[in-house]
Symmetry: C2
Subunit: 295 residues, 2 copies
């Protein structure tokens, strides 16, 4: 595995079909599953590891974002990554950088309303990665369903010849969606947090049983999470990320909640197969995931 710090060396070392997995590090099984998903379809597998300051909207969140570069590198070797790209801040945001990539519409609701500027930060940094690395494929997880929609819209609009690969959300065996932020959950908060995935699974059962009213599905998740500080529970179109009242198209039932000091998001994507809604509960691990530890 090559370690690179500049866009130009990363491009120069790339051969054949190039797949990029953009990350902010502190890997868990979810990250590794993104890498495995494209390992065999590409010649050069690049993982970028950059904690992007412009997508953080809350004080302390950036400083407290967990990091463990040595562990990340070792895990990348395990899944046969070719290039591990770890740029310094100035390589991504050169002195004087002011350019912003904004994707109105799809950025408006849910995370967009609760994290002002977040998606402009995401779209801007991903545009830099795509412009500077020129990958053929790029992988994003369905855990961040709205982020995925923002990136898909950005790629379509800016005409990047990049194929976006959507990877399933990965859950612990008890249902908790994997997140680097889970490391900050106290044992009690970790237990409480299960109300979120439990509510989503109940809603998925309702969908399987024919429920299409957004209000009912949202109420199920809200009821389950009532002891947490829920920021939103929303059924939205998967493509436009605009809230919908009826489950009549591919959609996402998304939730954000504050659990102790940690803000968690989770969702069930609802695909349509043969005209019928099929909830995607994600991949559920058999064994506890390896989550890093804090210093």
């Amino acid at each position: 595995m090559e370690l690179t710090t500049t866009f130009s060396e990363t491009r120069d070392l790339s051969v054949g079909r190039v797949a990029l997995v953009p990350t902010m590090g502190f890997f868990h099984e979810g990250h590794l599953s993104l890498m495995r998903l494209v390992r065999d379809r590409c010649d050069t597998l690049i993982v970028s590891n950059f904690v992007n300051p412009t997508q953080f909207d809350r004080e302390n969140d950036l400083e407290e974002y967990p990091r463990d570069l040595d562990r990340d590198r070792a895990m990348a070797v395990e899944v046969d990554v070719d290039i591990f790209f770890e740029p310094e801040l100035g390589e991504v945001y050169p002195e004087g950088a002011s350019t912003i990539v904004d994707v109105p519409g799809v950025s408006h609701w849910m995370e967009g309303r609760h994290r002002p500027g977040h998606f402009a930060g995401v779209a801007t940094v991903v545009a830099k990665l795509f412009a500077g690395i020129q990958p053929d494929d790029a992988v994003f997880g369905r855990k961040d369903a709205q982020q995925l929609a923002v990136i898909e819209a950005m790629v379509r609009d800016l005409r990047f010849p990049v194929e976006i690969v959507a990877a399933p959300l990965v859950r612990e065996s008890d249902g908790l969606a994997l997140s680097s932020r889970n490391v900050h959950l106290s044992p009690a908060d970790r237990e409480s947090s299960l109300a979120i995935s439990r509510g989503l699974f109940q809603a998925a059962e309702q969908i399987d049983a024919g429920e299409v009213r957004g209000e009912r599905l949202e109420a199920t998740v809200a009821r389950s999470s009532r002891r947490l500080t829920t920021e939103y529970v929303t059924l939205a179109s998967l493509e436009t990320m605009v809230p919908i009242a009826t489950l009549d198209q591919p959609a996402v039932l998304a939730v954000a909640a504050q659990v102790g000091s940690v803000r968690l998001i989770d969702n069930i994507v609802v695909d349509f197969e043969g005209g019928r809604p099929v909830p995607d509960r994600g991949l559920i691990l058999d064994e506890p995931s390896r989550l890093g530890t804090l210093p």
Copy 2:
């Protein structure tokens, strides 16, 4: 010369070092000089011809923008263009497109203040061309000095591996800066418009004689153009496009004025050589340029 209408065919036909000359068509000698400038340094010379609606800020200006595609194609053949890319609107702005690329700071003054949204439109369409065509070089004229600075900042910020080639402004033998819009000048307005370049040449002489006070240089141009409706006369930093009071760095002395029904811009770029300011008056043609005719 190949005619293309999609980004993918344009990419597929490109070999070796690729140079792009983005244009809005209705060619004059200025456009041809941009193409000639990179013809020998590249293997594939691509000219794009797309009248970009998002950079027009005034009613009627878009509809009245002159077009003559047959003539443009014939002139492109003359200078040995390899690919003439003429996309439809939907190829550049696919249905639902909302993504905006904005370059604050460098977009703020002069044209930015007088044409709200203009540079976001320019930066967005050029980002699409760079993302979709992936050129190695791209050529822009110094006639649009602020546009050039916006593109240079955008390329630096978004990490596009594109070298920006700055081409000299080209003038008629009497000093008028070439512009596709000149076709709309009445004979009387064309005569009046010479006050602009005359003022800039006088300021250039003052610079040669040691004048560094921005106010004096601006006043010279304003005095010469006093019978026109001048929008601004500004001495600005060439890199940041922020107004400066003293000519102590590479700069542009830029002017915009309404002449009859036509809005004209012109400038003198001031380079520094051996610590001394050297005004660039542009290339002055010996013979009248070939400007298209309106139907």
